[in-house]
Symmetry: C2
Subunit: 583 residues, 2 copies
Amino acid sequence: MYRTKNCGELRIQNSGEKVTLAGWVQKTRKMGGMTFVDIRDRYGVTQLVFNQEINAELNEKANKLGREFVIQVTGVVSERSSKNTHINTGDVEILVDKLVILNEAITPPFTIEENTDGGDDIRMKYRYLDLRRSNVRQNLILRHKMTFEIRRYLDEQNFLEVETPILIGSTPEGARDFVVPSRMNPGQFYALPQSPQLFKQLLMVSGFDRYFQIAKCFRDEDLRADRQPEFTQIDCEMSFVEQEDVLNIFEGLTKHLFKTIKNIDIQGDFPRMTYADAIKYYGSDKPDIRFDMQFVELKEAVSGKDFVVFDNAAYVGGICAKGCASYTRKQLDELTDFVKRPQIGAKGLVYIRYDVDGSLKSSIDKFYTTDDLKSIATLFNAEPGDLILILAGEKSKTQKALSELRLEMGSRLGLRDKNVYKPMWVIDFPLFEWDEETKRYYAMHHPFTSPKPEDIALLDTDPGQVRANAYDMVVNGVELGGGSIRIHDSKLQNRMFELLGFTPEKAEAQFGFLMNAFKYGAPPHGGLAFGLDRFVSLFAGLDSIRDCIAFPKNNAGRDVMIDAPSVIDQSQLDELNLAIIIK
Amino acid sequence: MYRTKNCGELRIQNSGEKVTLAGWVQKTRKMGGMTFVDIRDRYGVTQLVFNQEINAELNEKANKLGREFVIQVTGVVSERSSKNTHINTGDVEILVDKLVILNEAITPPFTIEENTDGGDDIRMKYRYLDLRRSNVRQNLILRHKMTFEIRRYLDEQNFLEVETPILIGSTPEGARDFVVPSRMNPGQFYALPQSPQLFKQLLMVSGFDRYFQIAKCFRDEDLRADRQPEFTQIDCEMSFVEQEDVLNIFEGLTKHLFKTIKNIDIQGDFPRMTYADAIKYYGSDKPDIRFDMQFVELKEAVSGKDFVVFDNAAYVGGICAKGCASYTRKQLDELTDFVKRPQIGAKGLVYIRYDVDGSLKSSIDKFYTTDDLKSIATLFNAEPGDLILILAGEKSKTQKALSELRLEMGSRLGLRDKNVYKPMWVIDFPLFEWDEETKRYYAMHHPFTSPKPEDIALLDTDPGQVRANAYDMVVNGVELGGGSIRIHDSKLQNRMFELLGFTPEKAEAQFGFLMNAFKYGAPPHGGLAFGLDRFVSLFAGLDSIRDCIAFPKNNAGRDVMIDAPSVIDQSQLDELNLAIIIK
């Protein structure tokens, strides 16, 4: 060992001890004949003292230390005269009598500080230096702690972690697979798993009863903000369970993490909201319920007053922003600009100001009397001082826009505190989504999701109305994960494939081996998968998942640090029986 | 929940309780008016009883149950009249009053028993059924427990588990990479990691201090027996350590696993043997030290007696098999055939029989007097009743053959008990291996392995003699893992690249980003990786790693269950800018 103590553990009680530390030079300061050096490692920072009068040669050596040099020092722990209360070791310093430079360092391209001067691009190129910053390191320590506690909880609940393969077969349905050419099987390809879905269902057929895996998953998608081509799921499956059992276990896991990691006791059961209510009241299947501000539907109340915008709209809805009646013209214009941004796409914004004096003013005074406005305000339970904001248009698009406006108002009003956590379940998802373009139904979750037993009759008459035994866990407007009870009855499964437009041959080609497995005795089963990256970033208070991943890729799917992907040798291509054809 | 209890937990104390169980039909037996059904789940087997006199309809339903049907039963726990001491639930049975068939099953292609009638190929095709067998399931439960305890131990030792990426860059040096074409970067490829080596060293540069990961690794090699294209490593790295520190930590981990998993206390330090001694005394860098039978070198003792086989041999060596003087002609012929097998390749086998009456007989009596034979026997400390077996020829090849013969004799003498564990360290590996074909040195471990400080001078004069700070852990002749102290000095690293025949440009192209990282202050560091699959199979007493992997691939790298790899659509190839050219 190059050290007897680490840089974060010395306290006043260690005074007088002779210790050896090793780490990086955080900074050096020369004050008269004294030189102070902060030495840093993963565990903390300790102050070193060199004194010219005691050892001029050593002092000179210390003065030549550059930032990020790797050093080893030996000396006596001593109480500081001016203590630093910001760090754990702030009561002491080391009077150094031996200094070894283990490695020199050239000047890093950005400062190794919490608030670094480095931009995103350079931090990613030099990610190994970025990871020296204590806040980035803390995110990864948090990730380690969370995965440890996840495993502890699930182990206690009798779950077995089983590794499923990374080199699997390609499934053309769904998102795009990454593929891996097989040298030993010319012209054939493995695929990297988008999730271990099929394998975990096979494990249930195998009688594993309770499975989990913290599993790498892969999706070759055009990367939107905050997507990574490889990501990590907490993947789980259980046998002989109903929806209630799955929700209970994973509500338990979530509470366990809040308690052990954040020291937060979440009291009571997580609220549950149907998908239909989530859309109706929040315009989103992942509502942020840290604040209320529910949608009020106004179509009926506002129709027939000759205001064509409302009369022609399929949907008119609004929210009530408490205490915002005092918003200025400028602020209202900002909100109008906000909803008119292309990614939100509303045509305009209607407001009704319920002033503190009880008077009502609106942008639609031409069409609505004060009494009209008052009765609208009543629908919102609005009080003097409140501001009502209204959007109108095509239903689903307007609900989405109103949802964005609601979140914006929540942010403006400080109602989205990162240290407040409001977990919930969204349940009763539709089984199918109708796609106008291809004129067919798609499975909203995946083709193995079970319909609610009471809705099975609707499969024949009105598939769009069938609700699924599917559920999502949502915290603060972030979808942490979701799952479903699976179909274990082969007749029902075949009916599903039919409704999804699979011919029996295509169903056989794609899912044949799973369907075949089911013939040998499949238990009722269901499961869930959480996005680990999102879970960690939620706990870390980060807006992006990138900083809770050690070596993330950029939006072009590149690792700019190691410069991957890259070209490979012609001999490698030849061995793989491949040629590159760029059109 | 479909059950109130599982199939492994009912005891005599539960008598009289009304319970509901769910599981698979293991077997049914009809005895008079009674039908007995064994119901199985992951946790065990419970006997169900149906009585025609009590409920004829229910009894008839039970009689129609097929093997592997999935059922749910409700009934009262009752003490058995004839108890089964082989199973935990053998004191009780369930008097069933309700039976629900949750799913039917067609007849499985092999029996779901520990000793199945299914061969390897069919078991792999129906792996999901194979996994129902309790011995296969136990291997995976063992794997779960081991990884849990590995994480617990390393967490307590301040190691952080950090996920490194699976989509990385290709490194032409070393084994063949699996590659992944990048759609977003036409003509470019990711590679799958052969190990997280470079990333873990970068994490040390980042100051992570102690890293581990239970990591999937990939190698596109022609599969010999017991190799898998994807395998799992317990990958670790530590900063500010010397070899001794690494050995201590991982000796501790190994003892922890023996204690918590096998309830075996390994007393004292693991023995350490230099690579040179391992080769000299065992002819192998992974000696099985459950038994002694060390090599004795005989070249000097046997030379000059006109026996040209020995006179012309670079190496003559033998082993002494205690108590085997009574071996028959047939047994000796068997051993001769054994060493002459092509994979062992000896030309012949010389024996000296030291009979219990003190007389000596050998296959070389023509050349050696009784006194000659006696003095050879003395070199082995042989006693009357022992058998000396001698091989001669080219040194390294003969040592390898003698090692195989030693293992064979150990097996024949019952000295290789699977329940006896003898862990050890092999240390002081050579830094380089000379390759006659390409006339150059190769790194025995990898190019970042540090030479022993005392041997650094030899780099200039006799590189072949330089020993490395590299080490392997070996248990019962199985190499569980190994590692090294890394070079953290860039001058020494450049000298290594030079000796390995890298031009500065090639070194830069391949390892530039790591070398660049080192310029910013690399700490002294070192690490180790264990093969998890081998570790589990050792603990499970398996000869192959395959049965401790849930979904293994066959020797052609195929998953025969899901039939992967397979062809992909032309549209997928087009998107990837690839064409298949099979010559």
